[in-house]
């Protein structure tokens, strides 16, 4: 008989797995059913543990970290509430294809099914909102399950993987071997694009009179920004992006038109409606970008490159599908790309871009546009992390992006409260860049506890709050489409208000809760309140210079300020409402 192989505890194998996968940072919040894992991590120095203040903040931080580095973000939480608090973040990562491995503690196997304290069926809860979810049922499977989890999370179309780990397995002795090979017979992601399809697509493109590229988040995920720019420059085809694709080619590039979609630019939406070839790469034609489906690019031959077969011809019927990784596909295309004669077409588009710019010239006072553009000027090398709602749409409309300035934003799920924790993840991932969190007053309050995390980790994040004292995006819809019935969108409301404003009376305008300056102070962060346009630049300059923790700037914004232009419900992209 051979000598008995050394055995280690399950929790120690988890640490081995993290090391082997190159994980240097774990976002972790302890609890009873994860305590063995935390103990194992305590006894090592290779992996840094980040302790946010809420598990939702935790997973958004891991998400921001993963989006910034392209590496797998790792979450480690306890069973029950620790696990369920991750759920929104898991769905968020799933929609935006962010690679995460979420290790959730679970009650010991003997208690599963007993409605034990802090027991939930995490795999059951997550089944439809993640890429893969599995509970470890046997100590001998642990190594393989973790290896597969990392592989599944980062390969193909990336996404979140949940590994539910019962406490007794964390304690149990077993093999110390972490497998290197992975073989999952039902999972063989295809990355290389079919050369025949690429050839077909390029021959259609090369004959086009009015072609456009539509670039989605897939180009960022594949790291194909450079190749994309080359392809555009060789062919001379104008580039339109989705929100997730913005920045794939620099937004000040002469071939860049703007964003497509509900709040896209007039020139971009018009070009999509008129083009004869729509060459789309890495977008799933989400309902926010298509407008009325029957009118979408209706005269165009549609080419669609996507790594996910299920995204092809789901919303839009595609003429030439190419399944594969964006970088692999674009690289093949570059071999067949040639300059096209498109002067008239490109001039038309750029003329419209000039004639119908997106701007906020309606107001004389302080506008979000001014703030975002000043930020661009002051921080050419930075990561911009908008929250969700008007602030996000304004960021997507006005920010100047490119290889030095990235934006990470939640495009699919749209959870308020994303910005601050995601900015923490980004700041940990990119210490050489300024990270800017932009939130509305509503969204900021959904995860403001993470100010403590940012301060504790001494992360010099610039936290901007657009305070319009309302849930602006919903309010805007109520204003345009619901007869100005502002149901539950005023955050100044107090019991004493009654229905005064609804009945046309003067708003008693009680003070806003909380006072963000005082709040920042209690977290030992400097804070400024900006009310006038001329204060924007000097205050931002001061706040950006702050080190040793976050600095907060609150901008008082008019509640009537809206995101324009807009494609009204059910209308085609070329029926944008430009003003009101």
């Amino acid at each position: 008989m051979s000598e008995k192989l050394p055995e280690i505890r399950g929790a120690d194998l988890v640490v081995e797995a993290l090391r082997a996968e190159g994980v240097d940072t774990v976002f972790a919040y302890p609890g009873g059913m994860a305590i063995d894992l935390f103990d194992a991590l305590y006894r090592q120095d290779d992996i840094e543990m980040i302790l946010p203040r809420h598990e939702q903040g935790l997973i958004f931080a891991a998400d921001g970290y993963a989006r910034t580095t392209g590496k797998v973000g790792v979450c480690l939480v306890t069973s029950g509430p620790g696990a369920t608090n991750l759920v929104t973040g898991i769905a968020n990562a799933n929609y935006d294809s962010v690679p995460l491995v979420c290790i959730t503690g679970q009650v010991p196997r003997s208690l599963i099914g007993n409605d034990a304290f802090q027991e939930v069926d995490m795999v059951g809860i997550c089944r439809n909102i993640c890429k893969y979810a599995i509970i470890v049922r046997d100590r001998k499977d642990l190594g393989r399950v973790l290896r597969e989890a990392f592989y599944i999370a980062r390969s193909g179309k990336p996404g979140p993987v949940v590994v539910d780990l019962p406490q007794d397995i964390q304690k149990e002795m077993g093999s110390a071997v972490y497998p290197q090979e992975v073989s999952i017979r039902g999972y063989k992601p295809n990355t290389s694009a079919h050369p025949g399809q690429v050839k077909k697509a390029m021959s259609v493109l090369n004959r086009a009179k009015k072609p456009v590229f539509l670039v989605g988040g897939g180009v960022h995920l594949a790291g194909a920004q450079k190749e994309m720019q080359q392809l555009a420059e060789i062919t001379g085809v104008p580039v339109i992006t989705t929100i997730m694709g913005k920045g794939a080619i620099p937004t000040d590039h002469p071939l860049y038109v703007g964003n497509i979609g509900l709040h896209g630019s007039f020139a971009a939406n018009q070009a999509i409606s008129e083009c004869d070839v729509l060459f789309s790469i890495g977008t799933r034609f989400n309902d926010r970008i298509t407008g009325k489906l029957s009118e979408f690019a209706k005269n165009a031959t549609i080419i669609h490159v996507d790594i996910d077969t299920a995204s092809i011809s789901r919303n839009i019927v595609v003429d030439i599908p190419i399944v594969g990784d964006a970088k692999a596909a674009i690289t093949l295309m570059l071999d067949q790309a040639k300059p096209l004669e498109l002067t008239g077409w490109v001039n038309d588009i750029m003329m419209r871009k000039k004639s119908y710019p997106i701007n906020m010239n309606r107001y004389e006072g302080l506008t979000p546009q001014q703030v975002i553009q000043t930020l661009d000027k002051l921080t050419p090398k930075s990561v911009l992390v908008p929250d969700v709602g008007q602030n996000q749409l304004w960021c997507t409309q006005y920010s100047t992006l490119g290889p030095e300035k990235r934006m990470i934003t939640s495009g699919g799920l749209g959870p308020m409260g994303y910005s601050l924790p995601a900015a923490i993840g980004a700041a940990l991932a990119a210490p050489d860049r300024k990270v800017i969190s932009v939130s509305g007053d509503g969204g900021f309050q959904m995860n403001l506890q993470e100010l403590a995390t940012a301060k504790a980790l001494e992360l010099p994040i610039l936290v901007c709050i657009f305070n319009n004292t309302h849930l602006g995006n919903v309010r805007q819809m109520q204003r345009f489409f619901y007869g100005e019935r502002y149901s539950s969108t005023c955050l100044r409301y107090r019991k004493s208000c009654g229905r005064v404003c609804q009945q046309g009376g003067q708003c008693p305008a009680p003070d806003y809760l909380p006072d963000f300056l005082q709040l920042a102070k209690s977290y030992d962060c400097p804070a400024w309140r900006v009310t006038k346009p001329e204060e924007v630049e000097p205050v931002l300059t001061q706040a950006l210079a702050h080190t040793g923790g976050p600095a907060l700037v609150e901008f008082l914004v008019d509640e009537e300020e809206v995101v324009m232009p807009v494609v009204p419900f059910g209308k085609a992209l070329n029926q944008m409402m430009l003003d009101y």
Partner: protein
């Protein structure tokens, strides 16, 4: 593209999946989560005990069906998806029908129907007859219709859903 009823039809999928706990929930959850209707689903172990085989029948239009196949294909637990819709098949469904409160004449009628339809009477007593029907889902539907007519509100049906395998020479679905 507008959904039309014109290409609504019965579809068949043969699915090979990992034989693990949770796989069935994952597959059925995929259908329910995306509001796809299943007509029937059967599952059982194959000659390889690590693999289960499912036969799923559903009624849908072409576009939805394409999407369903793609969604199944991208599931980690799914090893292979085979579209059986237009292939020659042998398919059978096991169905039990119990006929209650029979008179002597009713019983005679039940036995007669059984012999005409080629189904077995596997149990009976003075007032009840139990039929075991191993036929195509379609024939079972017809039989239920007939029994419903002859013995209104007196039949109890337990059916297992279609099991299908690609035919060698004879198509029977």
């Amino acid at each position: 593209m507008n959904r039309t009823d014109t290409d609504m039809k019965k579809r068949w999928i043969c699915l090979f999946v990992e034989n693990q706990t949770g796989t069935l929930a994952r597959i059925s959850g995929l259908f329910s989560g995306k509001c796809y209707n299943i007509d029937s689903l059967t599952v059982g172990e194959t000659e390889d005990p690590t693999i289960s085989r499912m036969t799923i029948t559903l009624t849908s239009d072409e576009k939805t069906f394409e999407q369903i196949k793609k969604q199944l294909n991208r599931s980690v637990e799914v090893i292979k998806v085979v579209d059986y819709t237009d292939l020659p098949l042998q398919s059978k469904e096991l169905m039990f029908v119990k006929i209650n409160h029979c008179t002597a004449g009713d019983k005679e009628e039940a036995f007669r129907i059984a012999s005409v339809f080629g189904v077995r009477v596997v149990d009976c007593d003075k007032r009840r007859v139990l039929l075991e029907c191993v036929q195509t889902e379609k024939k079972n539907n017809t039989l239920i219709g007939l029994l419903q007519q002859n013995f209104p509100n007196r039949i109890e049906v337990a059916r297992g859903g279609s099991v299908a395998v690609e035919a060698i020479t004879i198509n029977d679905r």
